[in-house]
């Protein structure tokens, strides 16, 4: 057997690791271990010079195993695997120790953090000795794409891909395309017609010969892997199967219903309406109260269900600028009306929006501030002597006074929230959810439209509240990711799958029962289980169930994990 020669690299990550963890001490401790030829610390291992050092060391010192102690393997494992490949080593002869996210960033005591890091690195060294080279597998990419959601984001992605000459299946659960954008009158801050933007997009999609639109359609199940997915879709009671290589999830979000907020008496008082209900009036061109009269006093209340632990802790992002848009539209429609904008904080973020706020504030609109900590504004029905339909009472923050505002119409700037079926779509596509049921991207900055499932991308408001402009940016980014994958034609997939040792397999078929992917079948002739590598996703459940130890979960083998445990615990007596 070839002599094991390990190179170990302890990253400072600037000061992220080095300020709490004694990197030089670790490098010194690790140098003492058997088979460790090189043990260094370096400022940024992921940088080009960092990787070049690693590559040069592999070549000069005939290293055949590498350990990098740095950030989470979920971030830079692919980076270092590529570096190994460049140096001519199999990328799987590598192990990372996470001493940043799971050490220096979460501990306070320098000594303990350093000792923990030593243990983690020793475990990695102990594991990497048992690593085996694995060959990547190349599969062809099906050039069709499934886009889920027919709102502005899904439409944009579908068009981008179809215009590049590739087939798109656009799945929409409702009976029409356009989503929320089709329900709004004007956009902000430019006050342009949303309809004039969305309608041509809808007809382009409907008339494109490379886009097949599925309305009133639900997904029953998705199987396969990057480049080769298939799904069963059900519409009008019939089920059909489609195959595609990539998925863009653009399922959007929905407005929050303010019925649960007692202070606002939504659905109790008929002239308390939501922003989306006002949009309908604006599209129709008339703003009226429930009895058909012209409102003299109108209030817009911000942060309805947003930034409040009781409802939604997050900011819904678009409501402040939308409220300013309403102030402008109402001022034009009703030049003599008294307009009150009751806000918690004015968050008119983004290009042109602060200017939009400044312009709006010159249009004879009364801006009043409230603080959610001091309770929400309360709406009540007015007395007949009040000369208005309702009264809003609240503590005005800037003046410090409790004030009463007489109003005939109240517009609630409702929060937005994830769809009820967001979880189901996440389960089908293998996406993770954040605490508020929005989808989590692979990396918020480095890979914002990818997800942890290869071949599945997210775009638009299913990822979090955002405006039309930002949704379109993501729609185009996701389409570009998909098109680049289609252009490559083939993709290398994970080979850390399960493998059956036919000599040891007793033919009990327990593995077949536990496999969630039906990836294992039984060879009656040989009386052994057989793994279909294309279907296996490498969860390892069969490996831990096999009574004879015949199944090996590649890259997570028993000996690799047991050695890692040993390495993790051997350190105690030696260092403390």
């Amino acid at each position: 057997m070839e002599e094991i020669r390990i190179g170990v690299y302890i990253c400072w990550c600037g000061s992220n690791i080095a300020q709490l963890i004694d990197v030089k001490f670790i490098a010194g401790e690790i140098k003492k271990l058997e088979n460790v030829i090189i043990s260094r610390d370096y400022k940024y291992m992921c940088s080009d010079p960092g990787q070049e050092t690693l590559i040069a060391d592999i070549k000069q010192n005939k290293l055949n195993r590498i350990v990098v102690a740095a950030c989470s393997p979920r971030i830079h494992e692919p980076t270092f695997r590529k570096a190994l490949e460049k140096a001519g080593l199999n990328p799987y002869m590598f192990q990372m120790a996470n001493i940043r996210e799971q050490d220096s960033w979460v501990h306070i005591d320098k000594e303990y953090a350093t000792l923990k890091a030593v243990a983690l690195v020793k475990a990695a060294v102990s594991r990497v000795k048992h690593h085996e080279p694995l060959n990547k597998k190349s599969v062809e990419v099906n050039s069709a794409t499934m886009v889920i959601g027919g709102g502005i984001t899904g439409l944009t992605s579908a068009l981008e891909i179809a215009q590049a000459g590739k087939q798109v299946y656009l799945i929409e659960k409702s009976d029409s395309l356009g989503g929320i954008t089709a329900k709004i009158d004007l956009t902000y801050p430019d006050l342009k017609s949303a309809g004039q933007m969305i309608r041509p997009k809808i007809s382009q999609v409907q008339n494109h010969n490379l886009i097949e639109v599925f309305l009133n359609t639900i997904l029953e199940d998705i199987s396969g892997y990057v480049g080769n997915f298939s799904t069963k879709v059900r519409r009008n009671g019939t089920s059909e199967e489609i195959t595609f290589g990539n998925i863009i999830v653009a399922t959007g979000l929905k407005p929050f219903s303010p019925v649960t907020i007692p202070e606002y008496k939504y659905k109790v008082l008929p002239d308390v309406i939501t922003s989306i209900e006002l949009e309908k009036m604006l599209q129709d061109g008339t703003v009226k109260t429930s009895d058909g009269s012209k409102p003299d006093n109108i209030a817009i209340i911000h942060c309805v269900g947003s930034r409040n632990e009781q409802y939604h802790p997050y900011c819904s992002r678009t409501c402040c600028s939308t409220a300013l848009k309403y102030a402008n539209q109402l001022r034009s429609l009703l030049p003599d009306a008294h307009l009150f904008d009751i806000y918690a904080d004015m968050r008119a973020y983004g290009k042109g929006c602060e200017e939009f706020y400044t312009n709006t504030s010159n249009k004879n609109i009364m801006f009043l501030m409230y603080d959610q900590k001091n309770g929400l504004p309360e709406i009540r029905k007015a007395n007949s002597s009040d000369n208005a339909g309702m009264i809003i009472t609240f503590s005005e923050k800037l003046s410090g006074e409790n004030i009463e505002v007489p109003v005939d119409l109240v517009i609630l700037m409702t929060a937005v929230e994830a769809h009820e079926d967001a979880k189901e779509v996440a389960r089908l596509t293998g996406i993770s959810l954040c605490g508020n049921d929005f989808y989590i991207e692979k990396h918020p900055k480095l890979d914002p439209v990818a997800t942890t499932t290869d071949g599945v991308y997210i775009a638009g408001t299913c990822q979090g509240p955002k405006g039309i402009d930002e949704s379109i940016v993501q729609a185009k980014a996701a389409a570009a990711k998909v098109l680049s994958m289609i252009a490559m034609g083939s993709i290398e997939i994970e080979v850390a799958v399960s493998h059956v040792n036919e000599e040891v397999c007793c033919g009990c078929q327990t593995c077949i029962m536990v496999c969630p992917y039906k990836a294992i079948s039984f060879d009656e002739e040989k009386n052994v289980s057989v793994v279909n590598e294309a279907l296996c996703k490498g969860c390892g459940t069969c490996g831990s169930t096999c009574p004879t130890g015949a199944i090996k979960s590649l890259h997570f083998t028993d000996i690799q994990i047991l050695s890692q445990i040993e390495g993790l615990l051997k350190t105690e007596s030696e260092t403390i």
Binding site: Q102, K116, L433, C539, I561, L562, L569
Partner: protein, 141 residues
Amino acid sequence: MTFEPTIVSFLCNWCSYTGADLAGTSRIPYSPNLRTIRIMCSGRIEPTFVMKAFREGADGVLMCGCHPGDCHYHEGNYKCLRRYHLLQKYIVQMGIEKERMRLEWISASEGKQFAALADEFTETIKKLGPSKIKKVMETLT
């Protein structure tokens, strides 16, 4: 000197390990006693791994997977749960207190919960004191 236990944690790649990473990116401090081994799915946790950890001197073993219904591999966490119940009976027979082993569900967004769990489990193990099993094993072999 106060007793600082060593705890081995097995975290699934998709939910729990990502949740632990989130505790890091959110800079939520917790006790440094946990030493993590990443596996792809909690369904991969073999009873042997847990026994090995105790044998090598772990004072506690924590296993974390995705919440029921959220498993990246559909149902690996249920497989883990079934084994956990059996394993709990087994370790008691071996003379290991059942409180030394825990299975919890941590999602990718539960950094805060992960940190709280790490602290709480560390406290539990501190109260139990050092595990005797390693010494027993040494005398036997």
